[in-house]
């Protein structure tokens, strides 16, 4: 079975249906091993098509895609797919199998036995934040969020070096979605997979992506960069408009008070713990009509302060 994380390279990858315009047009980008690359863009931007080119659910028209230097074209298609974790919006759990059997799907294809799968399933349930008692349940008895956790566990079961995630949190209500996003980031700290993540939600892209690829109509890459750069220096009008007029505020949400140099002075003023984002800190200052914010540590003890200008610098 696979393991670790792989570098993914799109090299002039192109998909064209018949004689029509390309759905993905000469897409070239490199996702370094262990990073999350979010593909985002308006519908018709070809983001899901680009994702499915990687596991050959959609065949390339021209160009190439390489995983750790190996072209996907050279590999046996079922072998290729077994080595890539795949998570889709509607999860696609098998309704006739228990959670444990669902998680064991790919290991079973690799010939793993029942006991190995049982141990692995319990391990993964814990990793995705579900109790071991879920192992024997059927998908129909799970909530949407629980199903997607199981979907994630199933995709991770064979320890694939690359994960493809197609709007995995798209059908989940906002509160649960935010929690799943946080847990996904925590989980990624542990497993360090290379992830390609498709979403139409800019905020989700900014929150999750180490890098963001913005695709425009016709499957052309508009910009591929870190969230900070995309928000701070959008490549063109299209990107600026797509990330939104509030992109300066979104950029503030990427950093926390812990990232700033604090004044030693503490004194009076509203207080906020150091893990507060700059965006929330600014909102607090505006609400309190204050100019200086006292930063506290985990126990609530003041460690310094910042001014409104510091936040906006």
């Amino acid at each position: 079975m696979p393991g670790d994380a792989a570098e993914l390279v799109f090299d002039e990858a192109t998909k064209r249906y018949g004689d029509g315009p390309p759905a993905v047009d000469r897409l070239s980008l490199t996702v370094p091993a262990g990073e999350i690359c979010v593909l985002v863009g308006p519908s018709g931007g070809g983001k899901t098509t680009a994702l499915k080119l990687v596991n050959r659910l959609i065949p390339l028209t021209s160009g190439d895609i390489r995983i750790d230097g190996r072209s996907i074209q050279e590999q046996n298609v079922t072998e290729l797919r077994r080595g890539i974790g795949y998570v889709i919006q509607n999860v696609g759990l098998f309704p006739h199998q228990t959670v444990e059997a669902n998680i064991g799907t790919v290991p079973r294809l690799y010939g793993r036995d029942r006991r190995w799968i049982h141990t692995r399933a319990l391990e993964l349930l814990e990793l995705v934040g579900l109790d071991a008692s879920y192992a024997k349940r059927y998908p129909s008895s799970l909530s949407g969020g629980e199903r997607q956790r199981v979907g994630l566990a199933r995709a991770l079961a064979a320890d694939p070096p690359l994960m493809l995630m197609d709007e995995p949190f798209g059908a989940i209500d906002p509160i649960v979605r935010a929690r799943l996003q946080d847990e996904f980031l925590r989980l990624q700290q542990e497993v360090r997979k290379t992830v390609v993540f498709v979403t139409h939600d800019v905020d989700e892209a900014i929150k999750l992506g180490d890098r963001i690829a913005i695709l425009r109509q016709g499957g052309r890459l508009a910009q591929y960069d870190t969230p900070e750069t995309i928000l701070g220096e959008p490549a063109d009008e299209f990107v600026a408009e797509f990330v939104g007029a509030d992109r300066a505020l979104k950029a503030l949400a990427l950093r926390t008070l812990a990232d700033l140099r604090l004044d030693d002075t503490t004194g009076e003023g509203p207080r906020a713990p150091s893990e507060t984002t700059l965006r929330d800190a600014l909102a607090l200052l505006i609400a309190e009509h204050a100019d200086r914010l006292v930063v506290t540590d985990g126990d609530g003890a003041p460690v310094g302060s910042v001014t409104r200008d510091d936040l906006l610098a």
């Binding site: 596991n55 659910l57 298609v77 079922t78 072998e79 290729l80 797919r81 077994r82 080595g83 890539i84 795949y86 889709i88 919006q89 509607n90 999860v91 696609g92 759990l93 098998f94 309704p95 006739h96 199998q97 228990t98 799907t105 790919v106 294809l109 349940r137 059927y138 129909s140 008895s141 979907g151 199933r154 493809l164």
Partner: protein
């Protein structure tokens, strides 16, 4: 057609009990005397006729359904032929078949199998078509081969619809199989015909008819139990 040809000796009412002589509704002495030579063999034959018909019908339907499901263009023509076979009255079908296959079990089975095709074919296709698209996409994306997808995902998920079809097919076959007695001296239809020809001997008609009904109910119940065992997930 002589439905009585080659059958066992007809009960002699002249020397029978008073219940038999007055054609009573439920002559237990007749029943105990003729269970072994009349009713029990008829019941066993009936089970055999029905099992063979549903077994062959299921095998045919499964192959046809796979073709109709995989190649959607084939679905309407197969459906129409199965529809057409289903509409032919059983007695008319026997008449059509006898010149070709004679007064044989083959004639009966051809007719019985024909009637199972529509129900089984339609249900298997419906079951396969009802498999959730996202489960199929996940299977493909995780590297299932076509065969693995069919055996591990499509077929198990189609089981409830397939069993639903089998239940209807089994019950209707058991019912239609009584008519087989027009062609061959077998099945629960035979004691019924004999009784009809003997001043409507009520006990025999009730007993044979009752056995056919009971057989259908038991078979249906067994299929329900089988489905429960096969699809624990559908009750979760």
């Amino acid at each position: 057609m002589n439905v009585l040809a080659g059958g066992p000796v007809i009960p002699n009412f002249g020397s029978g009990s008073s219940c038999e002589q007055t054609n009573g509704w439920w002559c237990t002495d007749w029943l105990s005397a003729h269970w072994g030579d009349t009713l029990q063999p008829a019941l066993v034959q009936h089970v055999e006729l029905s099992l063979i018909a549903v077994g062959i019908g299921f095998a045919f339907s499964l192959v046809l359904a796979l073709a109709g499901y995989r190649f959607r263009l084939l679905d309407p023509p197969i459906g129409v032929v199965a529809d057409f076979l289903y509409t032919i009255p059983s007695l008319a079908l026997f008449q059509l078949l006898v010149p070709l296959t004679g007064l044989t079990v083959t004639t009966v089975e051809i007719a019985l199998v024909s009637y199972t095709l529509l129900i089984l074919y339609r249900n298997i296709v419906a079951g396969l078509s009802g498999v959730p698209a996202d489960a199929l996409e996940a299977a493909r994306g995780m590297g299932f081969t076509r065969l693995q997808t069919f055996v591990r995902v499509e077929l198990p998920l189609a089981v409830p619809a397939i069993v639903a079809g089998l239940r209807i097919a089994v019950v209707s076959t058991i019912s239609i199989a009584t008519v087989a007695a027009f062609v061959i001296p077998q099945g629960l239809g035979r004691p019924i015909f004999i009784a009809l020809n003997q001043d409507l001997f009520k006990t025999e008609i009730l007993a044979a008819g009752g056995l056919a009904i009971a057989l259908a109910l038991v078979a249906d119940g067994l299929l329900v139990l089988a489905q429960r065992a096969l699809t624990p997930w559908s009750r979760a």
